[in-house]
């Protein structure tokens, strides 16, 4: 457990210190930063490559694993040997951000945009008759499929509503040729729904099963991945845990002797322990010499199962680090192990994957910036990223919550919580305890948010 705690601690405490290429950044932080370009393995290298990306003769496979609600801090409380193994094999991205809520992040992961551009600022209800994502939006899987990739989605989608089309087919419209063990939105609420009794979607049709969600999602992935394919493949595996309902995972999916405590935080942690086993199965199924693997959660710890220590000012549904600063692990051909301090956001994932596959998008993805070069060497700083959550009164449509944050590549963060705006220096203050008076930077970061959401 110690290594992942060390990784997590480093990410929390050092992450934003590392996340800078500016002259003001302490050079002492550099040793654990991204590996120097000289160490990049280039599979088909015949000389000095002009591009920092490895040049593969065949397009790589890609597997994206999205966990549902987990932050760095949770890794201090749960044994996750497979995540450790992966972290040691790949890069630990220490400055990766998501929105503090599911649907906006997932829209970012698939469309490379700030979802507020399409009016999505909170969790969608997949039963809603109000359309959410326009069919004209270009999705990552559409590009990959049209370029010859086999594409499949496993588990959760949560980026469309009934108003957008046939609920159980909405993900496939955006380029996934198959959708297995699918969930259109969420499985349901704690105390009502269950991760064991649910209605997975299998290519357009849902039917009840009695099968722990994480195991079924993994199993469907293993089955699909094991079939011979003449095409390169893209799998998007979206677990429905450790999100509520916090159903205790069956013992078969937990380490031997693991005892699940009675309260919901204990069941949440057990869900992470089970997820770690599923991640191990995913890693066992794929070949990291030909496959890029990205593992990340969609947002931080749920606000109602916060970690015992509760280091942060806020968790899910808040713009504080506990809601938006989450782990990202990347492994694959040419990705040398180490910390990657480059500033990243979920909206960057689609273009990063496309670049790793040697492809470009003809349009769309306008907010994302590929971080693929950072996996193989130094690259220019990313422009500041924005995290957002809004909530409206369901009856009066009055805006009740309008919280947001902006982080720049130097780890300076502007948080707006209940209308109060504060500046923090994450490199020295990762838990956001000491607001700073920096009016100029404050205004420039605020302008970034206002540029996408006036």
């Amino acid at each position: 457990m110690l290594p992942i705690r060390a990784l997590a601690l480093a990410s929390i405490v050092l992450g934003c210190t590392l996340a800078t290429h500016s002259p003001s950044s302490p050079s002492s932080a550099a040793p654990s930063a991204a590996p120097p370009p000289a160490s990049i393995p280039t599979p088909s290298a015949t000389g000095p490559a002009p591009s920092p990306l490895p040049t593969a003769t065949t397009p790589p496979d890609v597997v994206l694993v999205v966990l549902d609600d987990m932050s760095w801090e949770d890794l201090f409380h749960v044994a996750t040997p497979n995540m450790i193994g992966l972290a040691l094999q790949g890069q630990v991205c220490t400055s990766f951000y998501t929105h503090p809520v599911c649907s906006p992040t997932r829209i970012g992961l698939n469309f490379g945009i700030y979802s507020v551009r399409e009016g999505v600022v909170g969790a969608l209800s997949h039963h809603d008759d109000e359309p959410a994502m326009p069919a004209e939006r270009l999705a990552l899987a559409q590009v990959l499929h049209a370029e010859g990739y086999a594409t499949a989605l496993f588990g959760k989608w949560h980026a469309s509503t009934a108003g957008d089309g046939v609920t159980d087919e909405n993900a496939r419209r955006f380029g996934f040729e198959h959708w297995y063990a699918g969930v259109a939105g969420n499985i349901g609420k704690e105390g009502v729904a269950s991760q064991i009794n649910w209605h997975p979607i299998e290519d357009g049709y849902n039917a009840p099963v009695t099968h722990y969600s994480g195991d079924l999602i993994t199993q469907e992935f293993e089955t699909w991945w094991s079939q011979p394919s003449t095409r390169p493949r893209f799998a998007s595996i979206n677990y429905t845990t450790p999100h509520e309902p916090w159903t205790a995972p069956p013992p078969a999916f937990l380490p031997p002797g693991y005892t699940v405590g009675p309260n919901k935080r204990a069941r949440f942690e057990a869900s992470i322990a089970a997820l770690d086993g599923f991640l191990g199965r995913v890693c066992a199924a794929i070949d990291l010499s030909t496959t890029y693997l990205l593992v990340l959660p969609d947002n931080g710890t749920p606000h109602n199962v916060v970690p015992p220590g509760s280091w942060y000012n806020g968790y899910k549904l808040t713009p504080w680090q506990g809601g938006v600063h989450v782990p990202l692990l990347v492994a694959g051909p040419g990705v040398a192990p180490g910390f990657n301090p480059h500033l990243m956001h979920a909206i960057d994932v689609p273009e990063t994957i496309l670049e790793l596959c040697g492809l470009t998008a003809p349009f769309g993805f306008e907010d994302g910036e590929s971080f693929a070069p950072s996996l193989f060497g130094a690259m220019p700083q990313r422009s500041p990223v924005v995290m957002q959550y809004k909530r409206f009164d369901p009856v009066t449509a009055t805006l009740l919550v309008d919280d947001w944050a902006v982080v720049n590549a130097n780890g300076m963060k502007l948080v707006s919580d209940a209308g109060v705006e504060r500046m923090y220096r994450l490199s020295s203050d990762p838990f956001e305890t000491t607001p700073l008076w920096m009016p100029q930077l404050h205004q420039s970061l605020k302008a970034v948010k206002q540029a996408i959401d006036p």
Binding site: A146, E147, G148, E169
Partner: protein, 426 residues
């Protein structure tokens, strides 16, 4: 009227007159009539189709399959339906019916990379209930929208007619009493008239003039048109109504920036053959009346001419991709050969084509097969289910006199046609 063109079926091609080269990526409109034959156009006054044909290129040697589903598959995937086990119309209410795999790249998805927006209207008819929820089929396969949609065809057994049918609009179902042809054109005009800011692909699958036999609304017919009394007259009224509404569709389009394709999924229905019916077989058969169907292409950069270039529905996607400036995707589209050069007067050739239907759909051995293999010299080998029949279409376009059939291995032309059928048909 297209009597002139019918005559031209057996005559030499006119000299091609190239127009100016295309300047920008064109909008694309594909109109697929249901069961419309050359002879129907020759017999009936269809001024809008005639005007379109006069302004564009008329392909005289164009083939569809003897069943709608494989033709529609070919029009969208650039591959013979047999590649996916699609040989015959899919059963509308069979949950086990299998059609196009969602793994295939369809034309609208390939065009997406050229920024094309896309909408399917009316009949899709390519995916089965086992592939995708019927109300989502066209969108799963790449059309961003699907308006006035009909998953397979109108189902009279379920009480459906052209004026009482279940329509799908982007996944939402409702009952429509507007005449199908009118409702589909209305939906098209609404979509087309909205500003897009990007090139567009509209694919319209009309249930008319085929589908359930039914007199067209009087308002869509010439003044004083007699009330139909026979099934043939009802069908003819549907052809006239189709032409009338096509006029409305064309009025919404700017042909200087749009390429319009008009074709049919198959020939005149066998139950309502033309009065002067000259072919040995019509809709559903592998003879000319079932598979040799109209193809008219008009609009931006398209010459006003006739072409004898051999074409099959399977050639359309590669053609439209070329017009859009997109390469053919790395997988799929394996049977089509673009005829885009022929639209500007360049004469290209292609290998033989296969018009094929079979039952049942799927990978199992076919119990029923009908096919016609044709090469660009007009040699046609027909399998009518029991016999091979060999024709020389140059001298015998209406297939009246079968030629003697040489034993395999003695006539390379015949062997090539046989080999094509053997390599594609299940």
């Amino acid at each position: 009227m297209l009597r002139v063109l019918l005559t031209a079926l057996a005559a030499v091609a006119l000299a091609a007159v190239p127009l100016r080269a295309q300047s920008t990526t064109p909008d694309l409109v594909v109109v697929v009539a249901n069961d419309l034959g050359w002879e129907d156009l020759a017999q009936l006054p269809t001024p809008h189709i005639d005007a379109l044909a006069a302004s564009g290129t008329v392909f005289l040697e164009h083939y569809a399959d003897p069943s709608g589903a494989p033709t529609r598959f070919a029009l969208n995937y650039g591959a013979y339906g047999a590649r996916e086990g699609v040989g015959f119309d899919l059963a509308p209410s069979d949950p086990a019916s299998v059609g196009a795999s969602t793994e295939r790249i369809a034309l609208p998805r390939a065009l997406l990379l050229a920024r094309y927006r896309s909408c399917c209207f009316g009949i899709w008819g390519v995916t089965g209930a086992a592939d995708a929820q019927p109300d989502a089929g066209a969108r799963i396969c790449g059309y961003q929208h699907w308006r006035a949609g009909i998953p397979q065809r109108l189902v009279p057994a379920a009480g459906e007619s052209h004026t009482n049918w279940r329509r799908i609009d982007d996944g939402q179902a409702s009952v429509e009493t507007t005449y199908t042809t009118t409702a589909i054109v209305d939906a098209f005009v609404a979509w087309w008239s909205a500003p897009a800011g990007a090139p567009r692909l509209a694919y319209l699958g009309f249930p008319g003039p085929g589908g359930p036999r039914q007199a067209a609304p009087t308002a869509l017919l010439p003044v004083g048109h007699p009330v139909p009394t026979t099934e043939r007259e009802e069908y003819e009224s549907a052809v006239l109504a189709f032409d009338h509404e096509l006029g409305r569709l064309l009025a919404a389009i700017d042909l200087t920036s749009t390429v319009v394709v008009l074709t049919s999924d198959g020939g005149t229905p066998s139950a309502v053959t033309p009065p002067a019916g000259q072919y040995p077989g019509y809709g559903g058969s592998p003879f000319g009346g079932g598979v040799r169907v109209p193809l008219v292409v008009a609009g931006q950069g398209v010459s006003a001419t006739t072409s004898r270039r051999l074409t099959h529905a399977v050639d359309l996607p590669a053609t439209l991709l070329e017009l859009a400036g997109r390469p053919t995707p790395p997988v799929g589209f394996e049977d089509g050969v673009s005829f885009a050069p022929d639209l500007t007067g360049v004469v290209t050739t292609r290998g033989p084509v296969l018009a094929l239907s079979f039952q049942p759909n799927g990978a199992q051995v076919a119990t029923t097969k009908r096919w016609c293999a044709v090469d660009d010299d007009g040699h046609a080998l027909v399998w009518n289910g029991t016999n091979e029949l060999y024709f020389d279409l140059v001298n015998d376009p209406f297939q009246t006199t079968p030629l003697p059939i040489a034993a395999p291995g003695t006539d390379p032309v015949l062997d090539a046609l046989r080999d094509l059928a053997a390599s594609i048909a299940p």
